[in-house]
């Protein structure tokens, strides 16, 4: 589990300063200045979005009288317009429903698959594992055209069901991969004890393995949720009517009509659309970073 893995990692990292003999001014130039530049460049677009969102229209497009980097008279008009004059709340609920449902479907399928591959050990289990891993390497951009024809034939075109059924194709490989790693870290002896006490396999999975794998489930869930919230190409291809679109697609296609771009509302839409993933992420940032690094080490 993550707690078991992390302590040696941090102690190793702490000790590196034993050999940092550089003087303070030199450290400032070689470490803090570049680091500061990185942080500024990585975060600037978000600052710029926030500033744009809070500006009134005359301030937005007048760089001579107003310094564009500062908001002189902040206004919530752009957010108001977005929330009450567009379908934005509906887009949010659609995206939320699709993401949550496809996350749960994927978690269900991945837990069972990872349990079978890692714990039930059968002939060829590593080949199934490899095949699922390879499935992760098939990108949506070569699947969306045939999937579009399938979705059309199944009568799912322009329905959130199309997204709920197709999102697991890129969520399951990732979650299974992550959960296999987690199950590996749970001692097998616990399951053996339960077997001797007469528990069935499903009871063991439900009452012993799953409770112990909760951190793994949480990180797999966060990953799945963010990946489906961010998904774009399927949502763009399979959904046509405005009110059924997901947030990323709708912000790009519905808020830009005609020649005049309402940059304020666009930025508000983009920022608000990032809020749910940002909240999920900030609650579980430790799980997130450790499982990200853990998954790569695996």
């Amino acid at each position: 589990m993550s707690e078991a893995k992390s302590p040696p990692v941090t102690t190793v990292a702490e000790r590196t300063d034993v050999i940092a003999w550089e003087s303070i001014p030199r450290q400032v130039v070689t470490i803090y200045v570049p680091l500061f530049c990185f942080v500024v460049i990585l975060l600037f677009p978000f600052y710029w979005m926030t500033v744009t969102m809070l500006k009134s229209n005359e301030e937005l497009l007048n760089y001579t009288d107003y310094n564009p980097l500062i908001v002189y008279s902040p206004t919530l008009a752009n957010i108001y317009k977005l929330l009450f004059e567009t379908d934005y709340p509906r887009w949010l609920t659609t995206t939320m429903t699709v993401s949550v449902v496809s996350t749960f479907i994927s978690l269900f399928a991945s837990v069972l698959a990872a349990y079978a591959i890692q714990r039930l050990r059968f002939k060829g289990s590593q080949w199934v594992g490899l095949a699922i891993y390879l499935a992760y390497l098939v990108p949506p951009s070569i699947l969306f055209i045939p999937l579009a024809t399938m979705v059309f034939k199944l009568g799912l075109f322009d329905s959130p069901m199309a997204l709920i059924l197709t999102y697991p194709t890129f969520l399951i490989p990732f979650c299974t991969w992550l959960l296999i790693g987690y199950f590996k870290s749970i001692p097998y002896e616990l399951e053996e004890c339960a077997l001797i006490d007469g528990a069935s396999r499903l009871q063991i999975l439900w009452k012993i393995t799953l409770p112990l794998a909760v951190p793994g489930l949480i990180s797999a869930g966060i990953f799945a949720f963010t990946l489906s919230w961010n998904e774009f190409i399927y949502a763009l291809t399979f959904i046509q009517s405005s009110e059924k679109k997901t947030v990323p697609v709708a912000v790009l296609t519905q808020l830009v009509e005609g020649d005049i771009y309402h940059w304020g509302s666009l930025m508000a839409g983009a920022l608000l659309g990032s809020v749910p993933v940002a909240i999920v992420y900030s609650f579980f940032v430790e799980y997130y970073v450790s499982s990200l690094t853990g998954a790569i080490k695996e």
């Binding site: 190793v12 470490i31 942080v39 978000f46 024809t149 194709t169 912000v251």
Partner: protein
């Protein structure tokens, strides 16, 4: 392990037949794999095959196609826009990946020091990666605006380095470099955090030994850091190349392939031809043309992983 679990199958007699069926191992394995494998076969393997079939047909939206052999490829072979998209995709992948890895490695090395607010820094640096790509692409779209670009404002009005505002997205080459810059911006956090994980597993005693032997910082990087993170680097590199090569969202959001088709990647061109254009066959042919590259990247990834296991002395399970 398999042998040990076989023994206990005989326990739990006298329970409901359904419970006993679920304790029968082959059946249990089948039921456990069914949801995942079923979904993947129906919505991933089958469409993959269907896509390859469509590439050899003249399918259009609302009309099933007939087999036309290599006609779509003959058409594409003489298509200037297709070849430009191939060139763009290669340029985009090579330059953006190189940029992401050089800057990401640099950031990882900086973060590997003993710093104040270390975990906070790691958390906020991941933000560009968390936020939906399309939504941050919209921010770049606005930052690349011809009249009101904040980048131009800083260069012209604040620093005075230029006289005119830059036409970021109106000129073919400017647009390409702008897209590459946006892609690098988005890719740095993931590369940096992944490589940081690799850096933290390197034992400091290696550096101490090297220091005693009088190694310069460059030598320490070249002969300790770099070889030690190479396995992780190879895996992250493969994923990064794969996803950059098949990228769609960023280009679609910022330029939609414009100006005059100059920035189309293969994925965006496939979409353009297949969905708004209705030429499903031709679009599939473009998408399928990406597959040889993906196979190459996958094989590379597999051997990088295999080599890593061998290096650590683990047996292949």
């Amino acid at each position: 392990m398999a042998a040990r679990s076989e023994r206990v199958e005989w326990g739990g007699g006298g329970v409901h037949w359904l419970a006993r069926l679920f304790d029968y191992k082959p059946f249990l394995i089948f039921m456990c794999l069914l949801p995942a494998v079923g979904l993947l076969v129906v919505f991933l393997t089958y469409p993959l095959g269907l896509g390859i079939w469509l590439a050899f047909t003249d399918a259009r939206i609302g009309r099933g196609g007939e087999f036309v052999g290599l006609f779509n490829y003959e058409l594409l072979f003489t298509d200037r826009i297709f070849w430009m998209s191939v060139g763009n995709t290669i340029l985009y992948t090579v330059v953006a990946t190189a940029g992401k890895f050089i800057l990401g490695l640099w950031l990882a090395l900086l973060l590997n020091r003993h710093l104040p607010f270390k975990s906070f820094l790691r958390a906020i640096i991941l933000v560009p990666w968390i936020v939906p790509t399309v939504l941050s692409a919209i921010a770049f779209w606005w930052m690349y605006d011809a009249q009101f670009s904040v980048i131009s404002y800083v260069l012209v009005d604040v620093l005075g380095w230029r006289d005119t505002y830059i036409n970021f997205l109106g000129d073919a080459w400017n647009a390409r470099w702008s897209l590459i810059a946006a892609n690098i911006w988005r890719g740095i956090p993931f590369v940096a955090i992944s490589l940081l994980a690799g850096l933290q597993t390197i034992s400091p005693s290696l550096y101490e030994a090297a220091l005693l032997d009088g190694a310069t910082p460059w030598q320490r990087f070249r002969y300790i850091t770099f070889p030690m993170i190479l396995p992780i680097l190879a895996v992250v590199l493969t994923f990064s190349v794969l996803f950059t090569f098949t990228d769609f969202q960023l280009v679609y959001a910022i330029t939609r392939g414009g100006p005059v088709n100059a920035t189309h990647l293969m994925a965006t061109l496939a979409f353009q031809r297949a969905i708004p254009g209705g030429q499903l066959g031709e679009g599939s042919a473009i998408a399928v043309a990406m597959i040889p590259f993906l196979v190459f990247a996958t094989v590379f990834s597999y051997f990088a992983l295999a080599r890593r296991k061998w290096q650590q002395g683990e047996s292949n399970e």
